[in-house]
Symmetry: C2
Subunit: 136 residues, 2 copies
DNA sequence: GTACATTTGTGCGTATGTATG
DNA sequence: TCATACATACGCACAAATGTA
């Protein structure tokens, strides 16, 4: 699979697709480092901006983390603990606010689950840590 | 609030924080346009990359939409229809894959809810369109 | 501690394409 | 037609963070 600069699909999207495929197929295992920006630039014959936008896209999808001066890493698939949704409760999923992201120390591309209790209380969970259940 | 290039916090994160604050406080109302890239570049004394990355971050957080050739706009808070979580079902929230984003025509920064039926079937919802409920 | 290589962050110049008014 | 604004893409340079020798 190679990148076609003349395609109507942007180069950075093609590169992100390529890397995403490698992540989902396990070629790039969880915890392993992506090739550096310089390597990706050389090996795929694209500009650094395309590389950075591709990685940024994967970050926003929750697939990778980037550490300045170090590299980008395939995110580990988290263990989710089960949380029971109480009778009469409701829940929405959304992206966290800036304050929430900082206080809950959430990575980019991690949604939150906002659970509203029938009594009016609300609780916010990091979506990558919980699985909501309704018992049979 | 101003931007400090010498801070350990990246300039684009500082700018995103600043704009997010204006959105969440209502200074930038839902539906209103953000200043153009050129204006943000001038007024905050930062480079184009920083402006574009800041707006990209806000897009990935679901706060703004960008219309090519027109500008970036504060996203309206969506109406959610209620969906009942069946007995024995479970649900997780995550960011959509590239294919899901395309096929479901999801905006950036919109998570999905993946509902697993006790019989094994799974259904995926755009998280900005639904509120899951468990009846009392 | 110093020095160095590696990697990402930032800024800027340039160019072309696309969408809107 | 024209101006404006964003999207994509390439290049270069230097700053800042990290890790290692």
């Amino acid at each position: 699979m190679t990148i076609d600069p003349r395609s109507h699909t942007p180069v950075y999207v093609q590169l992100a697709d390529l890397l995403r495929e490698q992540i989902e197929s396990g070629v790039l295992a969880a915890g392993s480092a992506l090739p550096s920006e310089a390597r990706l630039t050389q090996e795929h014959g694209v500009g650094r901006e395309a590389v950075r936008m591709a990685i940024s896209l994967l970050r926003s999808e929750g697939l990778v983390n980037t550490v300045r001066g170090h590299g980008s890493y395939v995110r580990e698939t988290p263990d989710r603990r089960q949380v029971e949704l109480a009778p009469g409760a409701s829940v929405i999923a959304r992206m966290p606010s800036g304050g929430e992201r900082r206080s809950m120390q959430l990575n980019e591309g991690v949604p939150v689950l906002e659970v509203r209790d029938p009594k009016g209380g609300t609780e916010v969970f990091a979506a990558d840590e919980v699985e909501l259940t309704r018992p049979a």
